[in-house]
Symmetry: C2
Subunit: 233 residues, 2 copies
Amino acid sequence: MTSIALIMAMDEEASPIVKALSLEPKGYLCPPLPMCLYQGEWHGKQISLVVSGKCKRYGVDHIGPQGATVSALKTIEVLSPSIIINAGTAGGFVKAGAAIGDVYLSFPYVCFHDRRVALPGFDRYGVGEYTCMDTRELASKLNLKLGVITTGSSLDITDSDISIMNSYNGIVKEMEAAAIAWVAEMYQVPFMAIKSITDLVDTETPTEEEFLKNLSLASEKLSKEVIKLLGEV
Amino acid sequence: MTSIALIMAMDEEASPIVKALSLEPKGYLCPPLPMCLYQGEWHGKQISLVVSGKCKRYGVDHIGPQGATVSALKTIEVLSPSIIINAGTAGGFVKAGAAIGDVYLSFPYVCFHDRRVALPGFDRYGVGEYTCMDTRELASKLNLKLGVITTGSSLDITDSDISIMNSYNGIVKEMEAAAIAWVAEMYQVPFMAIKSITDLVDTETPTEEEFLKNLSLASEKLSKEVIKLLGEV
């Protein structure tokens, strides 16, 4: 049976998918780490959803590249999935035609936008450019957008981040995909990301305001598209 | 026997210590991950040195928070050390009295300086503020400097990073300590960092230029102080 692992950063992003697929909570993936596992069979596929879990000190989800790195590593070690899909919310760009609630598949790669190391070799390592599964047919069939998804450690974005994104045509900005893709590449597990837009980077509204306002809507939209995607992969 | 794990990002930083302690190369810590292990007994202590290893695609060391996160996680899982020491090179500040080759111990914590998330709780999670072992007596005995060591994903630093560092009196800037401290805290393994200054952030010379010029000197200096430190912990 095909085993698909969904890796997600926030409980609120994950809960519509957990409900829609009736996934069963299995507790911690690998104590004492905070990642939580939900599992179920769906249309002959084994679905495992791993969320990053809560920080004990600050009570918030372990968002960002460090949490995503650990989630990916333990997901691969414990569950040996055939495919990893990183699903989540992200920032889009009006100039690239994005609107709130749009859903993107990663293509052809995911990159980092805030790892600047101006030394030979390290400069390209910093960007990463991890090749994803070919999602072109899927995007066409499911009517989803396609693009280079890029990862950084912050919810906001600086001019330097945008200039790095522009250098490789990055059009979707989030906080986990490239970290997960890096781990998946080391273990040679096929990877793709699917991201629903909560906020538009190139508008006047602060990211955090738009993010909170649209998180629920974008997560519901994400859930619908992730379920269609699981039917196809 | 006390088991001490040294976690280091770059081969060039690690090699003077491997030589001085006659540590034996043990190959990969946990294939297919790139981290390499060196081990030996020294003055009745089991010393394990883990370096992040080379990226297959770009041929460079896995520097930065993602590599450090994986190094820390596998070091703890495979070696169960009593203490983790993150040793490496870093940027210092003239305004804080730093000079090239100065060696700092972490105190009282290590933080991130480039994880900006302006949402309640996530803002503090982004900074991290991981408490380190109390290094005051060690610093006094070994004549080392003390300070808040801060971590980011880039070799350079932005105005925003500096402003975040100033908010918690960060005076040493590097790329791994807080990521390792985060993992160590989850497993309740005592942690400290020791960092040797390769470059001065608040001067005109570009970081990458100073870094390359002083890496060898700073690594030799680091080696001497790490060995004295291992005698005391």
